[in-house]
Symmetry: D2
Subunit: 363 residues, 4 copies
Amino acid sequence: MKNSFGNSINITLFGESHGSAVGAVLDGFAPGIAVDEGFIASQMQLRQGLDSISTKRREKDKVQILSGVFNGKTTGTPITFLIENSAQKSSDYNENRLFARPSHADYTAHCKYHGFEDYRGGGHFSGRLTAPIVAAGALALSALKKKGIYIGTHILECATVRDDAFHDYASNIAFLESAPMPILNAGVSAQVQQIIEKAAAVGDSVGGILETAVIGMPAGVGEPFFDSLESALSHAMFSIPAVKGIEFGMGFEIAKSLGSKVNDALDVENGKVVTATNNNGGINGGISNGMPILFRTAVKPTPSIFKEQQSVNLKTGEKIRFTIKGRHDPAIVHRAKAVQDALTALTLCDMLALRFGTDFLAM
Amino acid sequence: MKNSFGNSINITLFGESHGSAVGAVLDGFAPGIAVDEGFIASQMQLRQGLDSISTKRREKDKVQILSGVFNGKTTGTPITFLIENSAQKSSDYNENRLFARPSHADYTAHCKYHGFEDYRGGGHFSGRLTAPIVAAGALALSALKKKGIYIGTHILECATVRDDAFHDYASNIAFLESAPMPILNAGVSAQVQQIIEKAAAVGDSVGGILETAVIGMPAGVGEPFFDSLESALSHAMFSIPAVKGIEFGMGFEIAKSLGSKVNDALDVENGKVVTATNNNGGINGGISNGMPILFRTAVKPTPSIFKEQQSVNLKTGEKIRFTIKGRHDPAIVHRAKAVQDALTALTLCDMLALRFGTDFLAM
Amino acid sequence: MKNSFGNSINITLFGESHGSAVGAVLDGFAPGIAVDEGFIASQMQLRQGLDSISTKRREKDKVQILSGVFNGKTTGTPITFLIENSAQKSSDYNENRLFARPSHADYTAHCKYHGFEDYRGGGHFSGRLTAPIVAAGALALSALKKKGIYIGTHILECATVRDDAFHDYASNIAFLESAPMPILNAGVSAQVQQIIEKAAAVGDSVGGILETAVIGMPAGVGEPFFDSLESALSHAMFSIPAVKGIEFGMGFEIAKSLGSKVNDALDVENGKVVTATNNNGGINGGISNGMPILFRTAVKPTPSIFKEQQSVNLKTGEKIRFTIKGRHDPAIVHRAKAVQDALTALTLCDMLALRFGTDFLAM
Amino acid sequence: MKNSFGNSINITLFGESHGSAVGAVLDGFAPGIAVDEGFIASQMQLRQGLDSISTKRREKDKVQILSGVFNGKTTGTPITFLIENSAQKSSDYNENRLFARPSHADYTAHCKYHGFEDYRGGGHFSGRLTAPIVAAGALALSALKKKGIYIGTHILECATVRDDAFHDYASNIAFLESAPMPILNAGVSAQVQQIIEKAAAVGDSVGGILETAVIGMPAGVGEPFFDSLESALSHAMFSIPAVKGIEFGMGFEIAKSLGSKVNDALDVENGKVVTATNNNGGINGGISNGMPILFRTAVKPTPSIFKEQQSVNLKTGEKIRFTIKGRHDPAIVHRAKAVQDALTALTLCDMLALRFGTDFLAM
């Protein structure tokens, strides 16, 4: 459904980078859930990223809730999140009208919308659109926590550096919820910041691999054949601008292994069925098996770099060389983490509601 | 929508491995498209795989079309594909009732369906369900070819062996359309068959990485924010049992690179905008850019191996050790190729219809 | 979604009047529900109508269940109903190719499908497509009964004759479940049969008004703003070929009344909130209020009459006069009753599942 | 999809009567369509109704467009309409917390949302939610007019008074577009205003029957079996608070007629297929036939009357008697007209886009 995602619970997204506002409508969400504005603000802050390595466009990103909340609790009717755009400097983008920035959506949007698209700052395709996703996702994260379901994401890889694997899910996830830099190992965190700063210094950019873990998910959730948990989660994750890959459990490595080495033997622990290993990332046949859900996404380096590049003048059709202006991040992987948490939460809320009803999260 | 996929054009899947039949209903497909039963049969044959390395369950897989075709052409109303199950030997599976096969959907389906699921041969979660997908996909492939859009998939990696990359899209795709083994390099093909046979000999299994290319796709197709081409394609691909990862263009590698190394410079060739490299796999901002669409999926080794494994008796909750019986493939990656082509075709038909209307394919 | 209806629980319809079969796939239906084949057959029989006043095309309409049922119970995966076409006499329809029967879908289907439609017997637009709806609906009716929800439909009006209103919902509905003619008053029933026979005798046809009551529906079900119970039920009912109107509660009469005369005062009865009158037909603001749901549909006279009519030759574009051949009902209102019950049941199951989860009906 | 309606083109609604704002997101709408703010304002004005007979709550209803419009034209991405609530007087409603107003959604919302609903002024179920529908619909009406499709609605009946039937569609529709009172016959218009004023004088309310005509709709549009034009339009119309019935063409009258009297003979006029009569209201088999689409809705009298009524205290469960306070319309039928036009336009845009693609309206 284009700018809507989800079935029983769905989110509809709107806005452009340099329009008056960006926002989202969250529908189907259970009534009676307390809205923790502090938690929403903290998630928005994580999406802003560290000052030292993030965009110079620093908006306050104050989230207004226009509907669906009454006396501090959700009403069960659509919840609208609105974030005004206050710091846009459109003049920076005026000349972008003429050429398509490489690896951005400029050319493809031009083809799709016949030149009527709002091209300023990427318009509707800007990473700014992820702000209302994070706001809505914060509510979903809160609701899931009440049901004992916790979600956390860290940067597993950046350039040649690799973070520790999740080793103690509960405490790792708790740590990540408030860590300014989403990396488990402090030494790695410092290295990654240096890598980003170094790229920024030469007008370049870096990407990274994000890893998400979900614990507490009950077994038996997912709607295959086509709405498997993997299908639903990947559908959501590829909405994050810059994501170019996703893998569950062992992912691409499992494809190179022998069945006998990677099958997850079933076991019983305290009367509960578990698997001895978790190579399938908590999902079998598209349905949760009660083990931690584990997946990784590939986030490409920000395409906005400050080196001269080759492109095409969309008006004349001529080849040109130019250098991007404006304020751009040398990396977004550390900021995308908050978006990945948000979309994971929204997807799981929807899947739980399909199985157990829209009231489930409220009870 | 659970067992339905697609918007303007959608497919609904039904059946179980050991029920009377499996099938699919394809809705929204344009009228007036000639149904090439020979081509459908050839795709079904590719899904069957080579005799030497495939399941001993050899069904004729005769595709009956129950509706939606009149005088050899589509009518525009729902097309129903039915494939009767003829070679099932349920006795092999009777004891599966008691335990969940590791890395299969047995345990998760049991949780979701409270024990009422048809457990025989994996029931609704069997790879057999992909047969009607291939039948429906053959029709989609035919229609796309008429519009100059071609799709091909090969095994890029299996164990330690790697096929050639796509080097001449048009001829590579034409070759793959009828190759009994979907591998571009004949030497690699022989090696992969040996790897599979070797695994089979010891009761083990292997997986692999499938790579799909699409050429001829017009620029400007895709429905972001949430229904990007990547979201739609990944949603479809994770429906293939055993797929645990997907990546577009450079995929996970792009995450480790510098922006300046991987941005796809725009160029003009014969008056048409192209990119100098194709690290984004033909998609920017979720919309096709006219370059070849390129993605890879990770197919895990068949979880049905003939070595003793540990599991749990679902009735008593006790840990058990057992060995799977029945007829199982030592690999399905070479067979999954036909499914990947089919789902790619169905997804693209839907995306084209959203943009250009359901009549588009007919014209 | 064209030939699919419903959200959490949905039905997908396929087939043509003179193709090999008609059928439906029911998805999202809870596992563990016993399939009562006798009840399905009895509903199919009601749809066939009385011998004396129904079509001469008497098919056995044997319902095959191809998937989704195991050991006599639903599995939770798609349930496929297939009814083979055995008694079609296509030769009767051959000349229909040339002209569009007035008030049928012949001309409009021709416009929509560019002449590729299966025109025989109305093709996909034949009333025959309602057979699998009745089969699927029988399952929904059974499941609702287990939850204390009962549905019944009678012919309220036919020509100048009017049946008794529902007076004792429970017993009236029980009576209608097995009445060969869906009319509460025996005298009226005889009159209606005479009216139909009389019309048949002169090659003419009649319509009628169907009234449906639902009791036992819990308060609080419905998904406004857009998926109100009225929206969902009307959406379903207008799928019945020949339905041209629907009204809830007092319906069109309420529009002519004063608010003070028709507001339903709230009352308390045995600790339960009820309304003193039920002019709103059990629905306020699109949500059930716990009172009987009551609505009426207008079923037009069968457009297939045996009098000479004026039409157009679709090939030449010339005006023609002709007389329809074939076997046609002088009325379908008494047969549409079973379809109306079925679609009501399917719609309510879906609405209940949205609110309470897909497991709700199973518990 | 609860608060979303439509497929290729869809609208998502949010807000409450006494919250900060009401609004809508329109997605899938073609790029390049000029936004006529004057026309939007004029439609908003028609929804406000005549001063003399409408609510004393007179908001300016200034429509802000937050996204999706750039340089005065649609961009193809989501268009957000926001209307701030400025004149709410919540104090009037405080005591409504305790009791459910008869024939309103108060009790049913209470059941559905467990008491967390925003009860002030009907909250999400208020007629105020129709304001953003009218804003979005104005854009749809504009786009349709460019394609030669015109929509008009008048009050056909109010109490005992009846307006002229549509007699010259084009000029009648043009007249209704700017008529302060949507009635074709000036004498009837005066009578209806008197009826409403008279009811108001005694604290009572009236309803009415709205009739809508659509001209210029091409033949061949509609998506049966389940998404017939009648299903789609009725689904939309029952979203209008107070609508309790809908009928197409002859509607309920056709059910009482003989087939030979009401079949619409096909004819040829200037080389175009037409029907001699239009008893089916421009739709056969759920697909447009090129004739005017004609339907009527039943709008019940406003349930907010100023006479003492019986209700129930939702907290204590006791029966009570009370009199509604606040500012309420003695009739909304004349205001609902603008909503009916808007939803008709949105529904038809969606159906046209399904058939011809989302670009259709732009071309």
